[in-house]
Symmetry: none
Subunit: 402 residues, 2 copies
């Protein structure tokens, strides 16, 4: 039996509350002093909490696999990211706060440069045009109409845009138009199943009109479509876990991911402080809180070790307020590692802290850091194991078999 | 390839012997002094053994999942408990020592209270009637005859009884008659497949006659049937491992579980001492010994920390006698945790000790306890990994691939 089916079968209700505090990109690598960002940060509250918690290290997907934000969070939410892929188009739309209904098909668009004579791609990112230029081009493309289709197009960042077709009976069983290399022409979108033929024709019609409009532009005189996909229709948190779950996040992408699994998305402002206020104000309304801190990841992506340390310290400072709510279970980890030294997501395991009012053994670990967690009582686990553990510690799972 | 197929393919014979010593419900949680039951117990023999063994922690099914006795033992025996579910009716029958042949279908029966006017259930457990009362009602129901069916009915405990139908061509693809809530009428047993229609009719005929007999009783004027199931027909220990295996246990449930995988069940008396005598008397007749200590679990279920400590100490005291037999491999663990603090089975990992005369590395762990085992050389493993490890250390597995 698969894990989600097992959760569905064994879930029971209890009045207990779970907080999952996700510091995006938390995991790091040693800096000059030999300590990671988390180990460098002064975190008296997390260290005190560690003494009464179980620690461990968690792999988002599988050893060596670096996750994007989508799969990283799906793992945390208990869904096997390899079983439930989320199309790039869906993530791009969620990332700028667009909402997808079941009739929507979303694509990620890339502006690119084409050789005017041969039509082959000379730059897949059109020289990474500025976001303002992208918005200007998107405005021009927004005049495109296709019979029977409700079209949404929005600039994302640099050379990227999101394109959504909404109509009954659209299919996402489609190939991409990006040949993934320079020197080749953009490809037509092709149907991978008979029911997708009409949708493929619609996308090709849109591309033809777009090329016509972009013809005179420089350097972005073409575009490609990638990851054409529908909302994957994930089983919901309520169905699987019986939880009334909400998301407290400041960035559209994470709100969107939470919406995919049926969480309510709360208006949480722009800062950790406003997120904590939101948590407090809604404490009695939910029994699961996904609390997302974004800027650990942003600092890691910027290669700014000190800034990442600072965000971790800022998060540490609100731990007493969070504990003041008296949660039954508090899980603290990240979706993936973003070591400042790499300026990118990585495959490294995430330090995990599981605090529970009940049922904890002692593991003797006295601080929250990558090296300390190696000795933790949780051992090396997978992201997808965290929800079952949180559920068990919150009295929300019954026995399997007699 | 699945694990059992791999074992079948790689098994080779050797003269070496394996003892699997299972202290039921062994794993615990810290008591007032900060130590678990196992850590509190004075276990000089287990600690001495630990110094020359590999230690670790084992998950019965999956993180966060609390197993019943059936799945807990199946895991220890190397069968994935999620792949081989065992019906509640089968476990109930095994638990009181009934034997199931391949033509038997077993149900767990619950006496319940019905509203005499509307027929809806007012108490699913009939006020938890005493076992004596249960036996008296079971005797009344034992007069029920159904053409062509050999019927066995036995009281279990409180409001529970076991009902077995034996006849050729019975099917267990059946629903339960228990609506799982008060305020609803007992349901008819329904066939989940065409071949089960006749069996469903037999169970419904039996229920009709039972209701007629129970009509005037109080409070148990009705009953429901749950978990209607056949022996799952597990591949046998001999087939999978090539082992001549026996079970040394004092309680019917564990004898029954051992029978399900084809072990010989020895007459082992009622105490750890008589179990050790049985082990000695049969030492030359088998090469695998499942040695089950029940009362660690019973004490845990009673919430009696000190009693559980005492059973562990009693078990520790027979370790020298067991080692005196010179086993090649001695594996010591439990089927699941039963922390006294929880008075119930739990999901927590089990401490594991693997002693082998050969092939052991050193892990530096010098005592057998939950916290010490975190640092053990076996790491965090699953119950189903234990049999392959025991087989390997007993020279009973050949190389995979050239």
């Amino acid at each position: 039996m698969k894990q989600l089916d097992l959760m569905k079968e064994l879930k029971v209700s209890s009045p207990n509350s779970i907080i999952m505090l996700v510091m995006d990109g938390l995991g790091g690598l040693p800096g000059e002093a030999g300590l990671t960002e988390l180990e460098t940060a002064r975190t008296p509250n997390l260290d005190a909490l560690a003494k009464g918690s179980m620690l461990g290290l968690s792999t988002p997907i599988a050893p060596g696999i670096t996750p994007g934000s989508g799969p990283g969070h799906l793992g945390l939410f208990g869904y096997d990211p390899l079983e439930f892929p989320i199309g790039r188009g869906v993530l791009e739309a969620l990332g700028i706060g667009l909402t997808l209904t079941p009739t929507c098909v979303a694509a990620r668009g890339n502006f690119c440069s084409l050789d005017p004579m041969s039509g082959v791609i000379t730059d897949r990112r059109a020289g990474r045009i500025a976001t303002e230029k992208c918005a200007e081009l998107v405005k021009k493309l927004s005049v495109i109409r296709i019979e029977g289709i409700n079209i949404t197009i929005e600039a994302v960042k640099d050379y990227r845009f999101a394109l959504i077709f909404d109509a009954p009976d659209l299919s996402d069983k489609l190939t991409e138009s990006d040949p993934q290399r320079v020197g080749a022409k953009p490809l037509p979108v092709e149907a991978l199943a008979p029911e997708a033929k009409v949708t493929a024709a619609h996308f090709n019609e849109w591309l033809k009109k777009a090329f016509e409009i972009l013809k005179g532009e420089h350097p972005a005189n073409g575009c490609t479509l990638r990851g054409i996909a529908k909302d994957p229709g994930l089983p919901s948190y309520a169905d699987i876990y019986g939880l009334k779950a909400c998301a407290i996040a400041t960035y559209p992408m994470y709100k969107g991911l939470a919406r995919l699994v049926g969480m309510d998305v709360l208006d949480a402002g722009d800062t950790i402080a406003t997120e904590v206020e939101t948590l407090k104000a809604n404490w009695d309304r939910y029994d699961f809180f996904f609390f997302h801190v974004k800027k650990t990841d942003s600092a890691g992506e910027d290669g700014n070790f000190d800034a990442k340390v600072k965000v971790i310290e800022e998060t540490d400072a609100v731990i007493p307020e969070i504990l003041g709510l008296n949660p039954d279970v508090l899980l603290i980890t990240g979706d993936h590692s973003t070591p400042s030294a790499m300026k990118a997501h990585s495959w490294h395991e995430l330090p995990v802290l599981l605090f529970s009012k009940r049922y904890l053994r002692k593991d003797g670990v006295t601080s929250f850091g990558e090296t300390a967690c190696i000795q933790g009582g949780l051992g090396h686990i997978r992201h997808a194991d965290l929800m079952p553990l949180a559920m068990a510690h919150a009295d929300k799972l019954t026995k399997y078999g007699a």
